[in-house]
Amino acid sequence: MIIKFRLDGRDVSVEVEPNELLLNVLRDKLGVKAPKYSCGIGECGACTVLLDGEPVLSCLTLAVDANGREVTTASGIKGEEAEMLMKAFAEEGAVQCGFCTPGMFVMSYALLHEKKRPTEEEIREYLRGNLCRCTGYVNIVRGIEKVVEMGGKK
């Protein structure tokens, strides 16, 4: 069947089978490589995207479920706050091998939209579904804290 949805601010339409997953369709059919395939069973958070603004795992979402909805990947997150996050991630060394980064970035962005001034505990709680195999958690948390300190969401 043909599904249509909003992807990172543009309208897309693509033919999919019911057993195709959103992650695979994004990466292999639509060329959006930000969400990563890692565990495939909902443990690691590397495939996180925003579906109608809420973070979900694209490896456990059927592509047909995105029909008529809005999908935002790390590539589609733009604006002043995204810039601040990227800069803070770079300055704090929050990116090591980079594989978990798109998921971490989407989650950090979602968190700052939910809570203007999250505490360290709240940041860690919000990111607990995202694994970093380089174990660079401290720097990732610091990156987010830096944005919070700079005033976060305008």
Partner: protein, 302 residues
């Protein structure tokens, strides 16, 4: 368990199925009645899709119910709380003003997966998946929840005690689906708590326990205790409950009663823990759940 994980292709769903997207409950029930055991309800997908990737479930028809918006609610209705089939774990956290009456369920929500899983996974799906370790099961058991199951022939209520049959198996008929979970509003001077032992809070439980207490003048009037991951299904602990009722609500009573839990459980060795560890820790977890529930009575609920 490990080897089956290694064999599974987690990248794709390795078989085809027909896809249905009913927009009303009537349509969904009519599909279920037509398809019977060939049809499988999809809600959050956080259990079902994982099973399908591993070919542990190979439904020929998927009935995605997420378009039936009227099934997504958490409300108070008279003397009960009603949780619709599509209410997610995050919906539950956001309804904390209601669910604070059922503190053990909020405890479960706070240790259930990460934000993404809690956004996707439904509470009804958690019980339909019927894992012996399901986080919602012990709270529902101690609060005497009822499951509203519907088919084209109408609705029936299944007490949660008889809903779970075996790992992955519930009392639902093939043509039935869960439309709602109903919890009686607990009386004042009662409270509940849920605790779990797990590698990390996101992980499945090695052992979990919920306790519900109603105390009058320092005496335990009502007591219900339930455990997860220590039997083929989530269970009540009648041997503990018996030792609590009519006794003073003290740590000593709890400790003595909790020892009896070994009579009610039948744990096994698996990837997450051993039978011996589960037997040794269960009494302590039950005591802690009872103490936490007691500490919440009358004061702050959570």
């Amino acid at each position: 368990m490990m080897s089956s994980l290694n064999r599974m292709n987690t990248r794709i769903i390795p078989f085809s199925f027909s896809y249905h997207e009913p927009t009303s409950l009537e349509e969904a029930l009519s599909l279920l009645s037509k398809l019977g055991a060939d049809g499988k309800i999809l809600a959050g997908g956080t259990d079902l899709i994982v099973k399908m990737k591993a070919r542990q479930a190979e439904p020929r028809h998927i009935i995605n119910i997420k378009k039936i918006k009227e099934l997504r609610y958490i409300t108070v209705d008279g003397d009960k709380i009603r949780i619709g089939a599509l209410a997610t774990w995050r919906d539950l956290e956001k309804s904390s003003h209601i669910i604070s009456r059922i503190p053990s369920l909020l405890d479960a929500a706070s240790v259930m997966g990460g934000v993404q899983i809690r956004n996707m996974a439904t509470i009804a799906g958690n019980i339909c998946n019927a894992s012996p370790a399901a986080d919602s099961a012990p709270p529902f058991l101690v609060h005497g929840a009822r499951v509203k199951a519907m088919s084209e022939n109408g609705a029936r209520f299944v007490p949660i005690d008889s809903f779970f049959i075996a790992p992955g198996k519930t009392a639902l008929m093939p043509e039935e689906m869960v439309v709602e979970i109903e919890i009686p509003l607990p009386p004042h001077s009662s409270s509940s708590a849920f605790l779990k032992l797990a590698r990390t809070s996101m992980d499945l439980a090695k052992v979990s326990a919920a306790a519900y207490l109603k105390v009058d003048g320092g005496t335990i009037e009502e007591a219900r205790v339930a455990l997860g991951a220590v039997a083929p299904k989530p269970i009540r602990a009648p041997s503990v409950e018996k030792e609590l009722i009519g006794k003073p609500a003290t740590e000593e009573t709890f400790k003595n009663a909790s020892k009896h839990v070994v009579k009610d459980i039948s744990p096994i060795d698996d990837i997450r823990s051993t039978a011996s560890y589960r037997k040794k820790t269960s009494p302590y977890l039950v005591t802690d759940a009872l103490l936490t529930a007691l500490s919440r009575i009358g004061g702050e609920k959570r």
